[in-house]
């Protein structure tokens, strides 16, 4: 059946170059949701994760363990929890956020946090302790030390960020529950692919997959160039 694959690739090219409005809408939603959530998660998780890596304290092992566990938090469950919280009869029902990209961002944000946190922590911990001492002895306060170590381990941290982004853009379980896969509004690549698959439109599903991967490649290419620049 791999003629579906070829068909899919051709269809992908056609969709992109005919500027299919629906496909472009899906691209927009997917990237807006995934990038926003990953960046927001990085804003929260990078400081905390690297801080945990920086300090020694009681219960650190347990926290490490918890982070590792939450790296494998099932997105469907996350979706459900967010659903229950945002549901009309839930505590934040008043906000009316369900079935919006905001809800999707919240879910993916929470899913990305442990991933970015865990990798940042591991990266900071594998920095040479002598560098740490040197920076301290030069008079750096904790925040400045922390920034130094971040800069030092940026390769691994960016790798963590890319994993989180990759997970977000390709995730489907959570976004479909809290976003609802509403056409023109909250439909992403993955939910769209699920729909097409369910409808037996494998060619179209593959086409969307091909587009997604191509765009991800471009985004990564940009990030990699950036990484090389800061090096």
């Amino acid at each position: 059946m791999p003629n579906e694959i070829i068909e899919g690739i051709l269809e992908a090219i056609r969709l992109i170059f005919t500027f299919d409005p629906e496909v472009w809408g899906v691209i927009e939603v997917s990237f807006r949701v995934s990038l926003t959530s990953t960046f927001l998660a990085a804003l929260v998780a990078l400081p905390i994760g690297s801080f945990i890596g920086l300090r020694k304290f009681k219960g650190k092992n347990e926290i490490t363990n918890l982070i590792n566990t939450f790296m494998g938090f099932p997105p469907v469950v996350m979706g459900l929890l967010i659903y229950l919280l945002l549901s009309r009869n839930g505590p934040f029902g008043e906000l009316g956020l369900l079935y919006s990209t905001s809800a999707m961002i919240i879910a993916q944000f929470l899913l990305a946090i442990p991933i970015i946190m865990g990798t940042a922590k591991a990266a900071i911990e594998s920095v040479d302790p002598i560098l740490k001492e040197t920076v301290l002895s030069l008079g750096a306060n904790e925040r400045q030390l922390w920034w130094e170590l971040i800069k030092h381990s940026k390769k691994s941290i960016i790798a963590g960020f890319l994993v989180a982004f990759g997970q977000a853009i390709s995730e489907v379980g959570a976004v479909i529950i809290v976003g609802g896969n509403i056409r023109w509004e909250t439909r992403t690549f993955t939910t769209s692919i699920v729909l097409q698959t369910r409808m037996g439109e494998f060619g179209m599903a593959i086409a969307l997959g091909v587009i997604l991967i191509s765009i991800t490649f471009i985004v990564n290419y940009g990030l990699t160039r950036l990484q090389a620049r800061v090096d």
Binding site: D128, I130, E133, T134, S137, L138, G139, A140, N141
Partner: protein
Amino acid sequence: MNLLEIRNIHKEYYKGDKSAIIVLSNINFSVKKGECFIIIGPNGSGKTTLLKLIGLLELPTFGQILYNNKNLINISRKEKVNYRRKFSFVRQKPVVRNTSVFNNIAYGLKVRGMRSIDYQEEVNEIIQFSGLKGMEKKNARSLSGGEMQRVAIAMNFVISPELYLLDEVSANLDSMNLKLLDDFIMRIKQDKEKTIIMSTHDPLEAIKYADRIAVLNNGQITQIGRPNEIFTAPKDEFTALFVGYENILYGLAELDKATGLSQIKINDLIITAASQQEGEVKVCIRPESIGIAKEPPKNTSYRNTFKGFIENIRELGNICHLIVRCQSEKFLITITELSRKNLKLEIDSEVFINFKATDVKIL
């Protein structure tokens, strides 16, 4: 007043199997403001560990570190940073940050909140001074061993701390860069507000800079005192063996314009030295290079000849140590047993000691 007081410091490390290694025990000493305090000791004696403790980079197992009478153990993180900013710490094996030489050197100022335009000049000055001109933009990681050592020194000196902690800074430096380091240290020593605590395993370096020396062996301080006390009167055999022997004299040098030589007045003696120096100096004469004669030498190149009496003789196999008193000063002299027998030297013998002006080291 004491700037720093170390009270009963102990430090243990734990091996993989949780058994303790005692690295420092019962360390007590104090350092005055403006002093240059040098810790000497063999490899593994605990010098680096002690400096790290003072630099607040590690915690002692127990004991107190008082700085201006404030105990620095158990202070808050924030206070620790404040104190660390009064100190600097040049590591034995320096590491540098993965950025340019300029940024490395500026880092200490930057973390203290100075803005780039404000430190530009200062940093460039120290770069010039440390002979790193032209390398500012190079990544400090790509430097040679000696260059990196210089960066590490510049990095710490630019922040002009109250207390300099220097851990074997001279390793990796060639003779010219040693001169540079010397300039640096001498500059600091002149500033009576600045204090230095320095470690070394090189006794000569210790003599050169120290106001006081502590001998560390096996985690314990075996002797503390002025360089001449330690080098001429080591308390135990270990110290004696380790430091070697040196004649160290304190005097006032005057330059003789006519000859270009220095005349150093040491109480009743006047010593001639080939270096051109003035003011208070420390003079060092190696016991091996002082000759002994029964009669005053004539027509020789020995600028320094003094009459004296043998106060003491120590036999050490084929060589022996003589302690000769020439007026106010005592000299330690090494000669062969053979010479002693030939010259029939005994305690109280009258002798003439000779040494050359070129052999007098002014430190």
